[in-house]
């Protein structure tokens, strides 16, 4: 495959762009691999890349039931930040932010990481106290996050309605400047291309039906739509479908799968300089480089695998956006969609070993795992290669639901992306 550079762009422009080679081959499964990763989202593809690059394990397959990046990776609103409350989470997400910084160069693929700042609005006294607590805790962890007065918030994001008689008054905001957005598809494509270049097989349109265990209980491989594929190590990174796959290996998960929806508007000229989140009214908004407003909502209330979600939620979200940004209230929305997110009881991820030898799991990222993509991928690769967790993901075990050592971001943030 071609290395992307100014020179290769120029050369291909001069030859009518007819000589670009494919970015990764469409692999067919071999009989056996050292490691199989179930799910070609950003997390799974990234893990394959880091297995090859950092651990020299290249006999790896990433198996995907649909097309790569077609799960939540290609459906999310791409908010990236790391200002989480607890030490464990702040360190984990900040590790991901460090990797985002250099990812375009590392992958030789423009993932369009834009540090435009994420501002979280406080609408009531509880929000003010909770965000300030986050800011103090972040400072102790060396994570950038600061408090803005109402006037400062308005200056940072001019479309914001800060009128004192607004339905959702703005009492201030927390701002993480290092935070922002990235191009979600490019993250999947960039990792896929870089992994394939190092010898990883990416097998699409091949659902994993179940995990097969050997007589001694350890992992033997996976049953797929294209037959049995052997591997002594299998890592499940299947977001909303994790419960179903893990069940086939006899492991019951503390997960529930909910639809999460988003929508985009018609494209307009640049008007929105940053990302704004309002957890209290459940509305998240930024503007893509194409000019569309990208708007995210909260999860639907019931468990579902339908990848659809209900209209009442969209109505609620758009109503909130129109209150906070009245400037947008005559805009037309172009399309909406849903993804299935895997939610844990404490809203923290599970990334580590399982009771089954050779079986690893990376899940529970719920409504907020895009930002973690490079970090989760890097740590999953480490855990699989060394058969033990890295110190950053060591607290994010499955056992914490037995020991009670939860990482309770749910109580800390109610809901957040």
């Amino acid at each position: 495959m071609t290395h992307f550079s100014a020179l290769s762009l120029l050369k291909n422009a001069l030859t009518g762009n007819k000589n670009w080679t494919e970015q990764w081959p469409d692999a067919q499964p071999k009989k056996e691999y050292d490691v199989i990763i179930v799910g070609a989202g950003g997390h799974g593809l990234g893990a394959a890349y880091y297995l090859a690059k950092e651990h020299g394990i290249t006999n790896v397959a990433v198996i995907e039931k649909g097309w790569l990046g077609g799960g939540n990776t290609g459906r999310n609103t791409t908010i990236i930040r790391s200002n989480y409350l607890y030490d464990e989470s702040a360190k984990l997400y900040d590790h991901a932010l460090d990797l985002w910084d250099n990812l375009s160069t590392e992958l030789n693929y423009n993932i369009m990481y834009s540090k435009r700042g994420v501002m979280m609005l406080a609408h009531n006294v509880h929000d003010v106290q909770s965000f300030q607590r986050h800011i103090h805790s972040n400072r102790l962890n060396g994570v950038d996050n600061r408090w803005l007065s109402t006037a400062e918030a308005k200056a940072f994001c001019p479309p914001l309605n800060v009128s004192p008689d607004a339905r959702y008054p703005v009492m201030g905001a927390a701002l993480q400047m290092r935070a922002g957005t990235a191009r979600h598809d490019a993250v999947a494509w960039g990792y896929a291309r870089a992994a394939a270049k190092r010898g990883v097989d990416i097998i699409q349109n091949c659902p994993v039906i179940s995990i097969r265990r050997a007589a001694d209980g350890s992992v033997d491989g996976v049953e797929t739509a294209k037959g049995f594929i052997r591997a002594k190590k299998v890592a499940v990174s299947a977001a909303g479908h994790t419960s179903v796959i893990m069940q086939s290996a006899g492991v019951k998960m503390p997960l529930e799968s909910y639809p999460l929806q988003a929508l985009v508007s018609e494209p307009i000229k640049p008007v929105f300089p940053c990302v704004v989140m309002s957890n209290t009214v459940h509305a998240y908004i930024s503007q893509s480089d194409k000019g569309e407003l990208v708007i995210g909502s909260g999860t639907d209330q019931y468990v579902s695998y339908s990848q659809r979600g209900g209209l009442p939620l969209i109505e609620h979200t758009v109503a909130a956006i129109c209150e906070v940004f009245p400037i947008f209230n005559r805009m037309r929305m172009l399309r909406k969609w849903g993804g299935i997110v895997d939610v844990t009881p404490d809203r923290s991820a599970i990334l580590g070993k399982t009771p089954v030898k050779g079986l690893y799991v990376n899940c529970g990222w719920g409504t907020g795992g895009f930002k973690a993509t490079p970090g989760a991928a890097h740590l999953l690769a480490w855990t699989v290669a060394k058969d033990e967790p890295h110190k950053l993901n060591a607290p994010f075990t499955l056992e914490r639901f037995t020991t009670g050592r939860l990482i309770d971001e749910a109580a800390a943030a109610a809901v957040a992306h």
Partner: protein
């Protein structure tokens, strides 16, 4: 929008009148003192989260206010049946085709 049948009001009404309340038939242990950590984990945190029929609780918050149970397919979001709290889960598995 889902249309949900309240077995108390005997009426089929829009989702907006109802609040979802999690998986059904998870009984609080009769003798909490003798529960092991694993049993607590299963009770508090493990959920069946099936792709297919799911027994779940709903509450008619903007109506009669009562809790009831439902069987719903999590792939199509279609309700098969709703029934009063305290009743056992109806055995529909044989009758209903669960799409894969």
């Amino acid at each position: 929008m889902l249309l949900i049948h309240c077995p108390y009001c005997v009426d089929t009404l829009p989702e907006l009148e109802f609040a979802y309340a999690g998986e059904a038939h998870i009984a609080r242990p009769a003798n909490p003192m003798s529960q092991s950590d694993e049993e607590w984990r299963d009770f508090l945190f493990i959920r069946s989260n099936p792709r297919g029929l799911h027994a779940e609780r709903w509450r008619h918050i903007h109506g009669c206010g009562r809790f009831f149970n439902a069987l719903r397919d999590t792939v199509s979001d279609k309700f098969s049946v709703t029934y009063k709290a305290g009743r056992p889960r109806p055995d529909l598995e044989k009758a209903v085709q669960v799409p894969k």
